[in-house]
Amino acid sequence: MTAISAFATRAGLATGLALPALGLLAFVAVPLTASPYVLEAILLPFLALSLAGLGLNLLTGYGGQVSLGSAAFMAVGAFAAYNFDLRSGLPLPVSILLAGVTAAAIGLVFGLPSLRLRGFYLAVSTLAAQFFVQWALTKFAWFSNGSPSGIIAAPVIELAGLRLDGAVGRYLFSLSIVAAVTLLVHRIVSGPEGVNLIAVRDNETAARVIGVPVLRTKLVAFALSSAIIGVAGVLWAFTYLRTVEPAGFNLDRSFQILFIIIIGGLATLRGTFLGAALIVVFPLLLGRLSAAAFDGLIDAGLIKLTERIVLGTTIILFLIAEPNGLSAILSRLTARLRGIGRG
């Protein structure tokens, strides 16, 4: 009994320490030590995609509503923030918040079919968002401020007179937003709303019978998820690519975000970050390895195609081995380490 309680306090202590340690690492150690390449090419896309994954996980992982329109909501967020910033003169964080609200409104509209449709049929109806948003952004030049080529340059990131243009500045800006939203989502999913969401996912009829407001829960999930994905779109465009173009938010991006939460683990926050890390880093690592091994020996195009096959096969094998995703693997691993520590 004492051994168990001692272990429990130790484990509690460990998790209690893990969060500040992680924060210290991310906010202090990384900006001090990471090279510009790591910040610009790995961490910035990782943060933006993690946030998008977080938004989708709230809807799909916790709420059970499949969506293929994530990239569209990213585009809405990015273009809305650009236009608020350009036309209103409000400070950038307010523009970003308003962009989230805009994405939520659009998400709400495209979430309406979820009241009648489920699963596969809902996924198809969210595809409408994907095509409609891209069409509208290309069709009406107003959204891109009449830019002849439709591609716009992201505004300068400025916070209370402080320019955050460097890689470190943009990283910290991005990280702060992602950290804040993650805490918010954590509160939501561990509170009564989270329970409602899971109840709707697991058995809608039963949830209705015990008095869960199913319609409201679904629509709130759509709105909140779209808002978060919209903010992720702002980060993607403003802090990472520094340019906004409708073509960058295509169906491939929606699938990429869906894969992030499937690979990372549905209905886990930790899994979203693990999945995003894998999706961002694994192809780069594979590319570097094959370049180091075969450069000049085989046609460069052939190497690239082989890499794609390897990437796809790895993901398939991996999902067969652990359908619950990276998060489940990590849990097993830490449990085993604890077991070793105890023994």
């Binding site: 510009p36 390449y37 610009e40 090419a41 896309p45 350009l86 290309t138 030049a141 891109s144 830019s147 002849p148 080529s149 439709g150 591609i151 340059a153 300068v156 990472y240 690519l241 520094r242 340019t243 173009e245 409708p246 073509a247 960058g248 780069l284 690592l285 590319g287 570097r288 390895l289 180091a292 046609d299 460069a300 195009g301 690239k304 195609l305 794609r308």
Partner: protein, 441 residues
């Protein structure tokens, strides 16, 4: 676990350390695309560029003794992959210039290259207002921007009809790709229609453009004298075959600069015979520089194209012309700063003095391959001339003289746009004196 901890540092070292570049080298990082939907353009263009650099290294021992080096990163024509490659390769020493051949990637790099003080070359494409070097010191849409292309096409139609006056009352239909790229020239066609008094119909083809029945039905109703094809990828061969089905004469279809390659016409088969398209560089391998590349590079087994039949194709020749322009900019900058590895800013100075007369182009073995270029600090396009080629089912044949676009007409529109950008971004407008100073390390 222990195996992993032992191997991890080695893996990291192998994958994250860039290969070192030797002291007196000038480096070209290449964001190439050899897979994906645009691989035909990517392999041709980057193949031509690399072939020309190989020729300079083998035949001349580099540019005045400075060897040319390059490294490649695959982008698949996707913006975020292009950005990753840019971030990865930009720490390489001695970088002369970037050449992404993708407008999306170029946009994402404008801030970065301006901070690094390294030139960004977008030959034949790119953001039109970067032509104004007063606002965009490091971006060079060499030879042809989309506005000049539009003007060049209209001037060609005028010359076929017997002069600009003959355009009055004629009808031109523009069939454009439903993307930002396709829509970019809509106001320019309107401006030219107003100026020359021709009727204009602009018809959109939604991406990807593999079904154009409705659009060609409309063209049939409108009965235009010419159709300008502003296409991309699969849209081009489908336009030609649909035109044939609808009985529109193929010799009245004029293609733009992204509808002008062998890959655009071959899939259309017989329907493409007689089709004409604009180009800044003639195709074919009869030019002396091409012959030297075949002799020095390909016969020695060092050629970059895996299929030698593509030597002299439109994209391969574009890569070679791009190579000539980059190498000559380095040479011109060396004449001022010394025969050594130059900084990006010094190469920028070289590009801003990249003036190649038709005589100099002939010395370089490229007479009739392209005409000339005349870049200055405030004109980063450099007054490139265009020509038109007709497809005979096997190869392209030049059917026009070198034609000058109406630069003076377009310049005020470009300046209006670039000055608005400068205001939005809080950028200074450079003077000639600002441009003359270059940072040497």
């Amino acid at each position: 676990m222990s195996f992993l901890t032992r191997i991890a540092p080695a893996l990291l070292a192998a994958t994250f350390l860039a290969s070192p570049v030797l002291a007196d080298d000038q480096h070209f990082p290449l964001q190439s695309y050899r897979v994906g939907p645009y691989a035909a353009g990517g392999t041709g263009f980057f193949g031509g560029f690399i072939d020309y650099m190989t020729l300079i290294n083998t035949r001349d021992g580099g540019v005045n003794g400075v060897k040319l080096t390059w490294s490649e990163g695959e982008t698949e024509y996707e913006v975020e992959k292009g950005v990753e490659v840019y971030q990865r390769l930009k720490s390489n020493p001695g970088i002369a210039a970037w050449n992404p051949l993708s407008v999306g990637i170029a946009y994402a790099m404008i801030d970065g290259v301006t901070a690094d003080k390294t030139p960004l070359i977008t030959i034949n494409h790119g953001r039109t207002d970067t032509t104004d070097g007063r606002v965009f010191p490091y971006v060079f849409p060499l030879l042809l921007n989309p506005y000049s292309e539009t003007s060049g096409i209209v001037n060609y139609i005028a010359s076929k009809e017997g002069g600009p006056e003959a355009l009055k009352g004629k009808k031109i239909a523009v069939l454009y790709h439903g993307s930002p790229y396709g829509k970019e020239t809509i106001p320019i066609y309107e401006l030219l229609a107003q100026k020359y008094g021709f009727d204009l119909v602009q018809i959109e083809v939604p991406h990807p453009g593999n079904e154009q029945g409705a659009q060609w039905l409309q063209i049939r109703r409108e009965k235009p004298d010419y159709v300008v094809l502003r296409g991309w990828g699969v849209m081009n061969p489908v336009a030609l075959t649909t035109a044939q089905r609808n009985g529109f004469p193929v010799d009245r279809i004029i293609g733009n600069v992204w509808s002008n390659s062998e890959e655009d016409v071959r899939p259309a088969g017989d329907a493409a015979i007689g089709y004409t398209a604009i180009t800044t560089q003639a195709s074919g391998n009869q030019y002396p520089v091409l012959q030297e590349i075949i002799k020095t590079v390909y016969d020695a087994g060092k050629g970059n194209l895996s299929d030698p039949a593509r030597i002299g194709s439109v994209y391969h020749n574009l890569g070679i012309v791009n190579g000539i322009l980059n190498v000559e900019a380095v040479r011109i900058a060396q004449a001022r700063f010394g025969n050594r590895t130059l900084t990006g800013d010094e190469v920028r100075w070289g590009f801003e003095h990249l003036q190649l007369s038709p005589e100099r182009v002939k010395e370089l073995g490229a007479e009739n391959l392209f005409r000339s270029i005349n870049v200055t600090y405030d004109n980063h396009e450099g007054e490139g001339y265009v020509t038109f080629q007709q497809w005979d089912g096997q190869k392209w044949n030049v059917v026009s003289d070198w034609i000058a676009p109406d630069w003076a007409l377009l310049r005020p529109i470009i300046e209006k746009s670039s000055e608005a950008y400068a205001k939005e971004k809080g950028l200074p407008i450079r003077s000639a004196a600002d441009a003359d100073a270059a940072v040497s390390n």
